[in-house]
Symmetry: C2
Subunit: 122 residues, 2 copies
DNA sequence: ACGCACCGATTACAGGTGTAGTCATTGGAA
DNA sequence: TTCCAATGACTACACCTGTAATCGGTGCGT
């Protein structure tokens, strides 16, 4: 249903998830400067996101104000699931195991996750 | 350095990670049938993977035998990290928290992960 | 010796993506 | 009133991707 959001598009979604509604210009100003995008690029991306129905715009005087139609949590859930499915047979444990093996996990992480799991069990 | 592997390409990588070396034909035979690819499609993908330097081929009589040049674990680590960076500020805990909240995580999962973490702490 | 089946190489082509530039309209400064 | 600057719409364009078809060489069956 909801179309796939590309990498560049995701960058502007993050801006809107952080604050909305915003005008195209405001979005452009908030996009991380590392991307080095022109205002036009941002407008193109907003247009594509509109076409994909993941944001909406309402007129506000001379310009439009944009806001997300999908929740960040939903997007994040979808992407996470895709990764787990593709690389870990859809299971969470191997993902954690993998990262753990790779030393990408700190003692702090371990403690936090343990606490989290404890909560879940109740 | 190592170029990005696309989705379709990843599918053939999985075949080679499972068994290698293989001829183009053998790879085609092992690609999940749901994809419904022609042998030509698989050959194109092998060619692109070669160009990207993530597989190699050596002549074996009339045909080539292909084998991966990158390890699955490395690929998986890279993809996992990308996701974590993009969506979870590079932290593992929020990822796990998110998945746990969302997808009914089973008691079995919890037990497994707890065991795993316990091992890590030692 | 002959043609075919098989192989890798080359070419194709539409749709998505990253990254803009140009055009037409219009409210507002001068 | 006039002209500009800002704004959204449309157009551009090269590269990547998914998905093949076609071409050219050649060992093998007959």
């Amino acid at each position: 249903m909801t179309e796939r959001i590309s990498d560049a598009e995701h960058t502007v979604m993050e801006v809107l998830w952080d604050t909305s509604p915003l005008s195209a210009q405001e979005v452009a100003e908030r996009v991380p400067t590392e991307r080095g995008w022109s205002a036009n690029t941002v407008k193109t991306l907003l247009g594509r996101l509109l076409a994909k129905n993941v944001i909406a715009h309402k007129e506000e005087g001379r310009r439009y104000l944009y806001r997300p139609l999908v929740e960040r949590a939903d997007y994040v859930a979808g992407e996470s699931r895709r990764l787990m499915d593709r690389l870990f047979g859809g299971k969470l444990t191997p993902l954690v195991a993998h990262l753990a093996e790779r030393d990408e996990i700190t003692d702090q992480d371990i403690a936090e996750i343990e606490a989290l799991l404890k909560d879940l069990k109740s």
